[in-house]
Symmetry: C2
Subunit: 325 residues, 2 copies
Amino acid sequence: MIRIGILGYGNLGRGVEAAIKKNPDTELVAVYTRRDPSALKLATEGVAVKSAAELESGSEPIDVLIICGGSATDLPKMTPKYAALYNVIDSFDTHANIPVHFANVDAASKQAGKVGVISCGWDPGMFSLSRVYASAVLPDGRDYTFWGKGVSQGHSDAVRRIDGVLDCRQYTIPVPEALDKVRSGSDPELSTREKHTRECFVVAEEGADLARIENEIKTMPNYFADYDTTVHFISADEMKANHSGLPHGGSVIYSGTTSDGTKHVIEYSLKLDSNPEFTGSVLVACARAAVRLNAEGVSGAKTILDLPPACLSAKSPEELRAHLL
Amino acid sequence: MIRIGILGYGNLGRGVEAAIKKNPDTELVAVYTRRDPSALKLATEGVAVKSAAELESGSEPIDVLIICGGSATDLPKMTPKYAALYNVIDSFDTHANIPVHFANVDAASKQAGKVGVISCGWDPGMFSLSRVYASAVLPDGRDYTFWGKGVSQGHSDAVRRIDGVLDCRQYTIPVPEALDKVRSGSDPELSTREKHTRECFVVAEEGADLARIENEIKTMPNYFADYDTTVHFISADEMKANHSGLPHGGSVIYSGTTSDGTKHVIEYSLKLDSNPEFTGSVLVACARAAVRLNAEGVSGAKTILDLPPACLSAKSPEELRAHLL
């Protein structure tokens, strides 16, 4: 039994909790929180809720800690801190800062003789695997990543910060013509605007200036200005009825050449009803790998690119060879 | 520079040769053949053609030998034989016999202190990776594998053995309705006939009884009897003009559940202009991994499921983390 602790009980923490129920070789031992533990009600009966402070002894009865925090401010501090005490897993997804985060976790994990797997999820994560395998097999080629259709929580949050906005759900949508071009193997050059559109469902305060809100969204730098964006104003009831899920997905498409005129197109795509439950499921598979590698004497920071695929599976190498190879 | 030897110069051997040209960290040192070496003309200038017998000294100047033989009779003998002397790679694809083949190669490789990677290609190979990753992340789910549209060399050969047949190209084609059902996540039960159809382009001897040939094809056990098969008789010129390539491909589709009513669909698909060139490209990436692992002191049989993904890539772990993760 792999004994797992979860740190942080937001959407992702609950996604990890759901995933543990689907993996009979794993057990949720405790959820750790920086809030008041007595205020937390878990979906799983009989699991302890503890203060995050308890982790600092380094003697909590867990084989691995899955850290469910935000990439902007939580994980850069939390992952190295707990990597010095436990095997840890995170879903750090600020691509540009991965090298620094990796170095910090590596130093802490190595000193502790533990394994820290960073940036697990689907991008970075499963999509990264697709990019690496495809480019390793077909070095003369290029990759395209499309996200959606799905809810971007970062973009939804950005709209919620606009004056007069009560709630927002932002969908990122790949442009079908761009997908078709890439799938044909024609290696098109595509601008940001040509790859994705954005669609916002917004609940505004009564009497708010809707034209101003729509304009503020569409001209917001980085988030929306480079995209064709559609804005729909809806009621709070409509939001609850039609937009309460967190679906997501996307595709990594790679086209490569092996000789004159000989093309190959590789596509990996995901259609996810729940982004946090799928991401949580990847975290649990990586937690299994971390515990196994650490038991073999491995230490230091890893990413999913360093983990032998068989290590992620509950099935034995013999079963995998006989039935899935 | 990774020094590679190729044993066997059929379609697959030539595919490996093409792949080596696309991988600047690899070098083709020699092609070994069981035929008369002087009868072989390579596509690459300046590469030695040698008798397979030369390999038996164990002192050929290669880091890894890629064995390009058939799974029925060649590889079960050849891979263990050469695994006792060199790092070796093969594309053994008789799924049912993989455990025995693995054990034979493992014994030979371990004794020699070498690495032998078996069953590399796309199925087994890249498709196996998709099945393993998907089931590791979503253990409550199931996979479906579809092949095609593409040329099945085994089925083409089977038709060629029929009396009165001069040539045949057999295409395996997934049934679109079956693909749609699986992609919807509805977990259908599908019979062999419901998943694929088969289409044969046949060049017959002049005056041959076409009705008899068509009937022999359609009723052939294992190969065609369980499928809806279409047979077209064409001229040798038409065969050459329209069916000289060896395209293939297919999809692994996995649907899994993380909580009540929460579904996820993962699809990995390949569209390959040349089956042997793509398979050869996978073999070369696995050869790189074998040489690296052996340099770290690893020995024994491996499959692609045991190889850390980063090991297959010519890029450094730092480059992969910075640009592809």
